[in-house]
């Protein structure tokens, strides 16, 4: 380094002297030799040119380096501005990683530093903007009007003959990942009812489901269904056991809701997709169940309405719409010998800008640009529901809640205040003591409001959360609440999910 400085110093004085001389000459030429000026100036320039490119290049390189390092420095500072770091991601509906607390153990084995890495990436400032940038880039990778997000699980073959039912439900062995058919558990339990509900915060223990593989075609998404023999057989045994346990006490109905991939996808495309036939699976399930359970088969009903162009399923969410649930309600009434109340008797409300679970999992821009609209139908008799939440407190809420100000991802929570262990709707216009117990996961939410017009008491039990607050078995609940009808309502994905079936089996006892 010292050597270089020594070489620099004489060059510096030389350059300075040269510059002064140049200015002197120029002034002289300017004032005296007007005729020769141009030639002189041109000549002067040419003697300087061998040096300029090198000097220019060095100056440019210096500038380029400085620009980059300045940017890097500012970017680093920016990434460490703690207040800019988000703690909750609306798009992914989850709490982002918190800064880890160092303990002697986690520091020693490197876990603390690992968590810090995750925290740094997970809560990066303007994360959602970066995610949008990333999906914007990935869209350029090819033609993505159709895409499959997630891995498609291998499906078992669906047997042609029904299962020979035994009397006892089978012991279900190791459960899989969390039940795949729940909506995010809402905050309705965390707030007291007010005039204007605030945007809900997701409960820490909320079981935000992970979907299986999702197929996106243009602006609609569909969840793959892979038939699982073991889970299906367990489900059959569980339902049959419920039927025999409640024999005489209550009438047991079973409704399995197909998902949109078999109802809404055009047949030509559907034939090529690697998803199990839901019609065949439903056939197997229904024919294998014991006779003391009444089956409500809504597949053909929904198919017919879908062909007619009805909005039966959300495009950006795995749930069905209230309209789809209404047609199922009609079918249920027919199958149970009741008369269905016409849809125009209900007050229709709509909430725009719903982007649900499919958008959360795929982040597809076609879904972002074409959000869903949630249509809800308020029962004419009452809009009040009594909810028992997961902390065992009881309070009143609305059957259909105004969610226009809620986050775009949470609009399905308009129905019955989301998922709660046990809820009760009483119809003040009925005095016949009729009651129904709806055992459901989140698909039951849009279905429940329609039952209000047919029964004095509608009890809604979410089998995923009920065991947290109440350890009564199904028979005890039916006896305590004087239930006439019991309706099991599951979507077909729950039926292939071993953990979900196990929860139901535990409830049945």
């Amino acid at each position: 380094m010292d050597l270089r400085n020594q070489n620099c110093k004489p060059k510096l004085t030389e350059t300075l002297l040269r510059k002064i001389k140049k200015i002197q000459l120029r002034c002289y030429v300017f004032f005296h030799h007007k005729e020769d000026r141009d030639d002189f100036v041109v000549a002067k320039r040419s003697t300087h040119s061998p040096e300029d490119p090198k000097l220019q290049k060095r100056k440019f390189t210096q500038r380029a380096n400085s620009i980059f390092f300045a940017f890097l420095f500012l970017f680093s500072i920016f990434s460490f501005i703690i207040p800019l770091r988000p703690s909750y991601s609306d798009m992914e509906q989850r709490n982002l990683t918190a800064f880890p607390i160092p303990t002697a153990a986690t520091v020693a084995n490197g876990e603390f530093f690992n968590q810090m890495n995750t925290w740094f990436a997970d809560t990066f400032p303007f994360r959602e903007a970066f995610l949008k940038l990333e999906t914007g880039i990935t869209q350029l990778y090819g033609v993505q009007t159709t895409q499959v997000v997630g891995k498609v699980d291998k499906a078992d073959d669906i047997p042609d003959k029904p299962l020979a039912t035994s009397s006892e439900p089978e012991e279900i062995t190791s459960p899989d990942n969390a039940p795949a058919s729940s909506a995010g558990k809402t905050d309705a339990s965390a707030q007291q009812p007010e005039d204007d509900p605030t945007i809900p915060e997701l409960d820490k223990d909320a079981k935000v489901e992970k979907l299986g593989a999702v197929l996106v075609i243009d602006d609609a998404a569909y969840e793959y269904y892979n038939f699982d023999q073991a889970a299906a057989d367990s489900y059959i045994k569980m339902i049959s056991s419920a039927g025999s346990k409640l024999n005489g006490a209550a009438h047991v109905y079973n409704m399995i809701v197909p998902t949109s991939i078999d109802i809404c996808v055009p047949q030509t495309v559907r034939d090529g997709i690697n998803t199990s036939s839901q019609q065949k699976a439903l056939n197997y399930l229904y024919t294998s169940m014991a006779d003391n359970v009444s089956k409500v088969d809504i597949f053909n009903t929904l198919l017919k309405h879908s062909v007619d162009g009805d909005y039966l399923y959300f495009r950006t969410d795995h749930h069905w719409t209230a309209l789809g649930a209404y047609y199922a309600y009609e079918q249920f009434c027919t199958d149970s010998g009741q008369s269905a109340v016409a849809l125009d008797q209900f007050e229709e409300v709509k909430y725009d800008n719903f982007r649900g679970s499919f958008y959360r999992d795929t982040k597809a821009s076609s879904l972002r640009n074409h959000p869903d609209t949630v249509y809800a139908y308020i029962p004419p008799s009452t809009n009040t529901i009594t909810i028992t939440d997961d902390k065992n407190s009881t309070w009143d809420w609305t059957v259909v809640t105004n969610v226009s100000d809620w986050a775009s991802s949470s609009k399905y929570n308009t129905f019955i205040g989301g998922d709660n262990p046990l809820s009760h709707i009483e119809n003040p216009n009925k005095k016949d003591g009729s009651s129904i117990l709806l055992i459901k996961e989140s698909f039951g939410n849009s279905f429940a409001p329609f039952l209000v017009e047919n029964y004095q008491h509608v009890y809604i039990l979410d089998y995923r959360y009920f065991p947290d607050v109440d350890n009564r078995s199904l028979s005890e609940v039916v006896k305590d609440l004087n239930i006439n009808d019991v309706l099991f309502l599951n979507n077909i994905s729950a039926v292939r999910n071993k953990s979900a079936v196990k929860l139901m089996a535990n409830l049945v006892g």
């Binding site: 990066f124 990778y141 090819g142 895409q147 699980d153 090529g272």
Partner: protein, 460 residues
Amino acid sequence: MPDLKWRNRIMLIFSLIFYAWAGPVYLLLLVGMTLADWLVTKEMSKCMEQKLRKRCLIIGCTINIGLLCFFKYLSFFLQNFHNWFGVPENVLAITLPIGISFYTFQLLSYVVDVYRREVQAQENFFTLLLYVSMFHQCIAGPIVRYEHVEKELTNRKILRADVAYGIRRFTIGLAKKALLANTCGSFADSFLAATSSDSIYTTLISQPVLSVWLGMFAYTMQIYLDFSAYSDMAIGMGRMIGFHYHENFNYPYISKSITEFWRRWHISLSTFFRDYVYIPLGGNRCSKLRHIFNLLVVWALTGFWHGASWNFLLWGLYYFLFLVTEKAILARSEFHIPRALSRIYTILIVSFGWMIFRFEAPSQILSILKGLFGLNGNSFTNYETTVAFKGSFLFFIIAILACTPIAKVLGERLQKRALVEPNAQVALQVVQIAVPIVLLILSTAALVGDSYNPFLYFRF
């Protein structure tokens, strides 16, 4: 410009912090091994007698290789012992300290080179520690030989042009990793990895033929882009502070033969084995049988260095077979294969090699082989594969181009034009300023969104 001593100290402290980030306990191992080798070479430089020097060499190498074998291979041997003889009962699982394969080899190169009097023993322990733990290459970077950086450790010039080159090289490496390699990886995994409910084998035998091919090529690209990106970043960062590491990759996928492939892939590793195993064993200056034996040893070790598992050994021997065959065939000059065909041949052999590299169980490798030739009873393609392919084909074109020297050639052409044309010069200047910044932002976006960030060479 601050004093070089202080710059080295700062680099050392940060390198040690960087290494400790992955697990502070193993930092002790790194420092301990360096200390042992420093003492050994100090002793060696004091001795004049060849016998004493050799003894020091043996001690140093035993410590290095012994520790490497203990941490990396002991579990493997114990497990196999257990499988064959039922003894010992409990096989203890030893965690692999990160980067141990890289820095052990760097230390070995130092010790052996001191013995061979090719370099001088480093008097300053901290300078040696800096060489070993330098965060540029300690974890995944090129195996930098001590003789390449001996002078630069104590005498570096930081030139503006070097810094500019380093910035470009680093951001290109970062973009290669974050944008290209990770996407190739998730694509490969969508066909070749286990699902939440299926094992790897179940997934593989149910894949259509096209999926297996696409998965194999995606993985091939992922490994190259990933690994060469780390080397790019290391070389770039080194340049920024005045170190000139040697190239580790030279566009290996345009090779025309397996022999050429190994001259272009992981150059630092193959030259290490050549200089420290192959040539001491006799190289090719011996009987034909001995030559083949030397090759066998080198390739078995090369394969095994990559991981403590039988499939890595198999991978090394796979290449051994092809190299020996090529040496036998190419020796006869009547074989003249058109360049395109030889490139196709090479890429096919290399790609299938990566399948052996990736899958541990022979059943999985066999199912891949069956799938490639359509012998697994599945159709050519299915809906999901076609959709995935349609959704990524532009990306693959870019990824394939990234594996070729096309970008480098275009860049050099632009630089030549810039010397004469002012327009080209402006274009070049804009590119040189804007591209690193844009790549940095894009890489951040990709890394922030991706929870998927595998470190493929983590077994080293």
